[in-house]
Symmetry: C2
């Protein structure tokens, strides 16, 4: 490198005219106009047009002609004002160009496997294999620069609020719950393993017991899950914990954080406090525990109406404890049969066995239901449904009858799906809400036992504490989720802070005393030495960044993501390792026969 750059490629303006400068960067587009060669020289900061003039220096011009796209060069030359018609007002450097007097080829590039432009048309696989080229595209670089800004803003705010950043260990004890742990074999203690943390949960609680009062960390976490479309085996979490607080304190702190972030990062004003929605209401009105509340089309339960209507299918479902739940797609009565079939298939993905639809039409001055099913509903019942659904002519009513959870989820998903189709979702708005009063436990069908809905360190509410032993499914947790535009971005709770209650919860979960001691004995022990009341929250950092950027896929806001099968296409990880490495770990691979 003979020449050191005096400026970046995003810096020079008309003020620099006549200055002698040196630039370094990548060869972007090349054009030959009127015998002159124009090259867009690119770097992270921008693009500067550099000119090779054969009249000035024929061999330099020839050299310029040979430069391959994406090669790295340094140039030296004088800044000159562009001719009148050639000014590019969209570019900061658009008024000037640099007339090249000297060029140094720093590195020649082979032809890249795809063009380095935003709309590159390459498959995601190819982009991941050549991630360093993918990241050279403006859109990806901007994602990463934005992510950088999110880190800094979060930490600045939290530090300013007295939170202490502490790194917690990532080679920890395996305490799998929910997802599988990634394991790390110990060499010094053959046959024993570390695990990579699914979250810093226990350690942040220990920090509260240590008296740290307010803690945060942007922490790497790990889950060995089966394929799910938009999860990563390693992901990032903003982790926060506070002492001497209740739910209101944690929520207020987070509202302050988000108000700051949205202003600082996007210049968006967010009103606080955020809406709070008890879990039951979220399920009732939106069918989902992460409800999208930016648009209406709330779910309506018409079980009572259907109980005595003439439609046997609905009747029997209601009679056996099921419900009939639906939504009113205003003005959508023009949906075609094909579209309705698509909606039926859609709810099928969420376990619904069918979708009953009615179009509302005006007939002789009265609104009536039209559909193959409508005939099972007499005028009175049709009227009650129309009234209940606040329907009018031109509307499309859609119903699922099923077990309560299935019906709610299916219609809840359908609501969001339809809102997209009907363009009901306001763009560029950010609506936060809290979902509260979650059930403490849920029944795990796979293992036939109770499981903690949040995690077993969550405190039950005072009012439902007595149900712990009697009717655990009625116990409510002091847990809260933060939902942004229908996506859960954070979740947290007030924690258990006495060994007695912690043991009761383990018992309710069917964890034996011995197992609890073996797995979590160190936490139970710690709770004996002055554990303050404490609670906190954890944000899915990748998801949060993606939503703020208006991006669906978290992979696009992660520098080097893995595929849905947890592979790194760039490096080829995971890969085979030397037999010697395994031997040192006293491990043997069981080959399938």
């Amino acid at each position: 490198m003979k020449m050191k750059r005096t400026h970046t490629c995003g810096e020079l303006t008309a003020e620099a005219v006549d200055a002698e400068v040196a630039l370094s960067g990548w060869i972007g587009s090349k054009r030959d106009h009127g015998g002159m060669l124009f090259i867009d020289l690119k770097d992270r900061y921008g693009i500067t047009q550099v000119v090779f003039d054969p009249q000035r220096d024929g061999s330099l011009y020839a050299e310029g002609k040979e430069l391959k796209p994406e090669s790295v060069i340094s140039i030296r030359g004088a800044v000159q004002r562009r001719p009148e018609g050639n000014v590019n007002p969209d570019r900061k450097t658009g008024e000037i160009e640099v007339v090249v007097e000297e060029v140094e080829l720093l590195n020649r590039s082979e032809t890249p496997p795809f063009e380095i432009v935003d709309d590159c048309g390459a498959s995601e696989e190819l982009r991941m294999k050549y991630r360093y080229l993918d990241l050279r595209r403006d859109v990806m670089r901007e994602n990463m620069v934005f992510r950088h800004r999110v880190y800094q803003s979060m930490r600045r705010y939290l530090s300013g609020q007295g939170f202490i950043e502490v790194e917690t260990p990532t080679l920890i004890k395996s305490t799998p719950e929910g997802a599988r742990d990634y394991l790390v074999p110990s060499r010094k203690f053959a046959g024993r393993f570390f695990a990579l943390p699914q979250s810093p949960q226990i350690f942040k609680q220990l920090l509260m017991i240590a008296g740290f009062d307010k803690y945060f960390q942007i922490a790497r976490c790990y889950r060995d899950e089966d394929i799910r479309a938009d999860r990563q085996p390693e992901f990032t979490q903003l982790d926060v914990e506070m002492s001497f607080v209740d739910e209101d304190d944690v929520m207020a702190m987070n509202e302050g954080l988000l108000k700051f972030l949205m202003k600082d990062l996007l210049n968006v004003e967010v009103g606080t406090p955020f809406k709070r929605l008890p879990f039951d209401e979220a399920i009732g009105k939106y069918g989902l525990d992460a409800p999208a509340i930016r648009f209406g089309m709330a779910l309506v339960d018409v079980s009572d109406v259907c109980a005595d209507a003439g439609f046997k299918v609905f009747q029997s479902i209601v009679a056996s404890g099921g419900i009939v739940k639906g939504i009113n797609a205003k003005g959508a009565s023009n949906y075609s049969r094909r579209q309705l079939d698509e909606l039926t298939a859609y709810v099928g993905e969420y376990g619904a066995k069918g979708l009953v639809w009615f179009k509302v039409e005006s007939e002789e001055g009265a609104d009536v239901l039209k559909s193959p099913t409508a005939k099972f509903f007499d005028a009175a019942h049709q009227g009650r449904i129309i009234e209940r659904m606040s329907a009018e002519a031109g509307d499309l009513l859609l119903f699922v009858a099923d077990k309560p959870e299935v019906a709610s989820t299916a219609v809840g998903r359908l609501r969001v799906h339809l809102a997209r189709q009907l363009d009901l979702i306001p763009g560029d708005t950010f609506e936060f809400c809290w979902v509260t009063e979650f059930p403490m436990f849920e029944f795990n069908e796979e293992f036939g036992c109770l499981a903690a809905r949040h995690h077993p360190f969550t405190s039950p509410t005072e009012g439902t504490l007595d149900d712990l032993e009697k009717e655990p499914l009625r116990v409510r947790a002091r847990a809260y989720d933060l939902v942004l535009n229908g996506v859960e971005i954070a979740g947290g709770s007030i924690r258990i802070n006495t060994p007695e209650l912690q043991r009761r919860v383990f018992r309710a979960l069917g964890t034996g005393e011995e197992e609890a001691d073996e797995k979590f004995g160190f936490l139970i022990e710690a709770l004996k030495y002055g554990a303050p009341p404490h609670g906190g929250i954890a944000y899915g950092f990748d998801r949060f960044v993606a939503i703020l950027r208006g991006i669906d896929r978290i992979r696009d806001v992660i520098a080097f993501p893995k595929t849905t099968t947890a592979q790194c296409l760039l490096s080829g990880a995971p890969a085979a390792v030397d037999e010697k490495q395994l031997k040192e770990l006293k491990l043997k691979i069981i080959r399938d026969v």
Copy 2:
């Protein structure tokens, strides 16, 4: 928690007298004076004295008497000025106390296994097992709060300089060099493994190829090493990389960073640029590649003088390519035989087979050497040694004769050891220096082959490039280490940025084409698509924080450290895991017979 605190325990001053306040915290020391009970209520922010007055409320007083140390309480009461003689000027809250009107026991503590005071007298093992209590001690909390400040200052400075923080993956491909990788079995691809990174080296280079220009990250790194006193299996690194730079740029950037940090964190002014010491000079004058330069006592090579002196031992060592190197411990001629034996034993730890000493005495107006060995040196040779060592009466001269590396290291270590004994090291000063022009390779005795001294991605210097194939041990690297007070705190280099040179270095290391492709093919491939000149540095974050805090052990600046055998005494990791987990990974443990 009935009462929410209105203030922390480090907040109330005389201005708050008569205010009604609520505080929460831990029970510190308790004293009963004149029938009144005084409790130090502690939290992260400080200590406030609270008073239980039996005259006011007898049952409250009785309740207070029962409170066990380290229990967590909330109190409500009025702030009052302390009586004249009871003011504690060392404490921010020392002018006031709070007269308790209501108390709530939030959590009762059992008697802790050691007293929560700075000088707790507990073994490090006990402190690690009950780390949450250890961290409650002022000294440990202050370490962690200081560490928090270091994170924030570093990031603030680097962000301000245009560096982008990027998270690189930690489930990567195993490419062991030097230390062992920790492995992570893949479940989806049974028999294959991820590795935890020893550093983000390759990924940060890929970010430069991606055009990020300036990158940083405070990254968790992992090394499965055998026991070394002050290393951790997982440790933290400040990782930095820059494009279009040479050594001077990287050094200047780091000098700016450190100038800022030292001022911001410790209010210490540091002069820049830092001294630069070529590797050969560091070894020559200080015997070590991380030289302590805050004091003199430089090493002196007296091989030439000894070559023809009458002392056979020295003569034959010099004749066979060894050297005689020594230091002058000014004014230390009063060292006792026992002290000299201790020094001999000390250099023995570094491989020296002996230590030859002379006391310089004045005899009949001339300085002469005194020691059992002195008789082998005639007056002329004694005079030459005295002159060469700039010695005078009262000095102690110490020499090691051995192979060059052994003699340099042993005397270099002895120099630091003696400086401590003789109190030559100025306290509370921070002296930075760069060590440069490192050898590119070293001979690895264990494997009988060359190894990269820094890493194989380091660029050789232009001037020694031609030696790569002919005489690789003569090749110098564009590497630099940053040394603070005799401890290496950071190391870096300008990297190779062409596939051709990268292949030449792999060949020099004896890495076959196929092996290089298999392990590092993705990097070599990336170098083909426009890799800019780039270089960077990585700081041992834990060590850096420890030095700034004046602490020897990095374990004391890590919240939850592991032992030297890589165990977590708190949680018991590593631990046995369920057979089911191993089965899913298709792994079997080989039990020793």
